[in-house]
């Protein structure tokens, strides 16, 4: 079937197999940040935005993205660098394989809730598994980012 969608701001019109999963579609288009970590919708590594909402691209037919907007970390490099530098400053990226999905969902969190509590951070990101970090460094990074963001706003105001 033919689909028309916007991937990271770029219009794509393409003939695809009906059963193609969104993860395979975006990887084919060079969005290698999107990873497969499980086949059971548990790990969050394949997180992309569909019309701005974080979803699991491993479980979504590309066909369903027809007429919609798909965003991967490739399309959010500025935010990825901004938030990611706080993760990197903790060394909490470790192997890095879960990072893109985690970063995507962190961006989604901050868009929905710019000043989350620790509990809110943990709950919102609970669908992003990480086996290396024990999560503590990621939490420190998120808190440092929030503090920095606030400070920046105060200075700006």
């Amino acid at each position: 079937m033919q689909i028309n969608l916007k991937l990271n701001g770029k219009l794509i019109k393409e003939e695809i197999a009906d059963e193609l999963l969104l993860i395979d579609f975006v990887r084919k288009h060079g969005c290698y940040s999107v990873k497969r970590g499980c086949e059971t919708a548990n790990c969050g590594l394949c997180t992309v935005f569909l019309d701005g909402k974080p979803v699991l691209s491993c479980s979504l037919l590309a066909a369903r993205a027809n007429g919609r907007e798909v965003t991967t970390l490739e399309g959010l490099q500025e935010e990825a660098e901004e938030i990611g530098s706080f993760v990197a400053n903790q060394g909490a990226e470790q192997c890095g394989f879960c990072n893109p999905g985690f970063m995507m969902n962190a961006i989604a969190l901050f868009r929905e809730n710019p000043d989350p509590t620790d509990e809110e951070i943990l709950e919102y990101l609970s669908g992003n598994l990480c086996r290396c970090s024990g999560y503590e460094g990621q939490l420190r990074a998120m808190k440092n980012y929030i503090a920095w963001k606030k400070e920046k706003q105060e200075v700006g105001a």
């Binding site: 290698y32 919708a41 990825a80 060394g91 890095g96 943990l122 503590e136």
Partner: protein, 759 residues
Amino acid sequence: MKVVNQPVMKKDAMSLVTGKPVFLDDVVPDNALVVKVKRSPYAHALIEEIKIDTALKVPGIEAIYTYKDVPDIRFTMAGQTYPEPSPYDRLILDQRVRFVGDAVAIVAGENEKAVEKALRLIKVKYQELEPVLDFHTAKDNPILVHPEDNWESKCPVGADNKRNLCASEVSGHGDIEAVLKDCDLVVEHTYHTKADQQAMMETFRTYTNMDAYGRLNIISSTQIVFHVRRIVATALGIPKSKVRVSKPRIGGGFGAKQTLVAEIYPAFVTWKTGKAAKMIFTREECQIASTPRHEMEVTVKVGADKDGRIRGIDMYTLSNTGAFGEHGPTTVGLSGHKAISLYGNLEAHHFAYDVVYTNHMSAGAYRGYGATQGIFAVESAVNELADRLGMDPVKLREKNMVRQGEVMPSYYNEVNASCALDRCMARAKEMMHWDEKFPARDMGNGKIRSVGVAMAMQGSGISGVDVGSATIKLNDEGFYVLRIGAADMGTGCDTILAQMAAECLSCGVEDVDVFGADTDGSPYDSGSYASSTTYVTGMAVVKACEKLKHNIIARAAQILDCPEEELEFDGKTVSGEKGRVPLADIATSSMCGNNIPMEVSESNSSPTSPPPFMVGMVEIELDKETGVVELLDYVAVVDCGTPVNPNLARVQTEGGLGQGIGMALYEDIQYNAKGKLWNNSFMQYKIPSRLDVGRLRVEFESSYEESGPFGAKSIGEIVINTPSPAIAHAVHNASGVWVRELPITPEKIWKGMQEKNED
């Protein structure tokens, strides 16, 4: 120290957090054949007939291989130094299948769809055999997992395939029976740990092609490029010169990738077809056909006097290596050596073990490597002893823990050269407010808060075996390239080793580029395992840099026409009375009319394996009615010698605690009666989410290890060892129940409380 002991950002950190394409499946060409394996539905069977003709006709199928097509050469997939202690018990494909998930056929085709279809169309007639599923009855069972005559054990590890024995040994010092008999109190219990999965986020994956020189080029997500080269060549029966192995960024390893898991299948396909091939394990394959922790049952006797002096430890470990023997003979040793040795001045110890074959998935190397299992047993037994003695378990340990300077008879008679275990305990106690919190407080709302404690140790590399090497080269404008064969799998060793090089060469980490690992381009390294890289390879880096520094000065001496002794190198300039030469000029001059090498290589091996030490303390809240445990606080104080990079050491610790907590509370391995594993996905094998680990607080109490680079020991493995015993202890302090089989589920606690109430 300017660079070492600093929280330097990992060299690849920004690439990783911004999702750059640096992992295997991001970087290899996409024209490779898709390789998959057909897997056995039976735990034990002989293939009577296997029909592939229909499957071969599926459009896009390139090749299908069965046991008839592979060399009759037995080998081991364990990434260990040759001759491997692990038995040579595998064929690439065998007529006998030994666990549910064992490889039956290899299929290669143009796309996944075709390969999946072909897999379904391969018709196999099996002769079902009775499996050995209970590891208690495996030894001397009439059913043999490896009856074959060409099974071979290359090292004297007490293996005997005609007894289902992968290894067996007895060791000790003193007269344990007499000592235990003379003790006021002997505590004896048996502890059971499961075959937990490393569950790194990136599954096993390998790409292979033939290079321009007709060599088999293997790119793999592996911790052990050199072992992969040797093992693949052995299995294929080809010269090692025909194989090259390299690794890209690795999405986590934890020991899983210290064994060949995916490599051999695409390698075989490429060698046969000449075409590029790629195999990516599914998560299900990772769960059912990989290389998890050895299931162990450890029986411990700890003898002590009433005053709390621990006098003797007797231990027997039964280890389940599953269908194949990878790391079977070696992991088991650590269950004793790295648990008993936590206690100094024992009058006697005795340690015996059997490692048995069964028709379960084979085990392998997983962070902690046997020590984790043994420490759960010994530390739990010591906590039970404290309980029986009515003594604070911290005081009991303060009285008995191994101290710096002591000889450790259960640790190859090594001297404990650097040890801050006592300071770790003191600090952990402070951080936890142990004295106020031990053992428990009833919160009055059906909840009870309690604390638990455990100590741990590990090694730093394999003494007298592991070899680490480093090559350092001075380049134009004065930047360096450090080539290593160690594998950064997210741990940050590229950065840590660059920090050491920068410290030696008085430059910044950014001035040192790191290359690795590639069997053609890297100097030899056993690989990144056994907590070896910082300690063993790190020292090679130091040696290489010292030598290069010497050569830099020598070249400057030529330029300045003065004796070397008059010159000093400050990282930027070599200077002396006769003048100064900037490093960049030395680099440039080295490329013109020069005979002094600006690239040097050094190797390092250590006769000792200095243990890092740590103390873990946990506070939990137990729901008295449901048995649900909530983790409130985990305190860990680690002595890894000098932490080369405090940030990375901290995150290593937190990550190890997270995995250890998973092992203690959540991760279960459950087989059905026919030997099929239920926990075959992340839906059914529950690694902790960020809501499941509580808060982790890590500090360091450093000793200084003279034999290590800048005083460093290891950190990678030890950090997984304390959660199981510490949490089991806290659970007991809250409920009165000792849970001696992992994971500690609410149901087990509840049942234990029920039984206690009935008593």
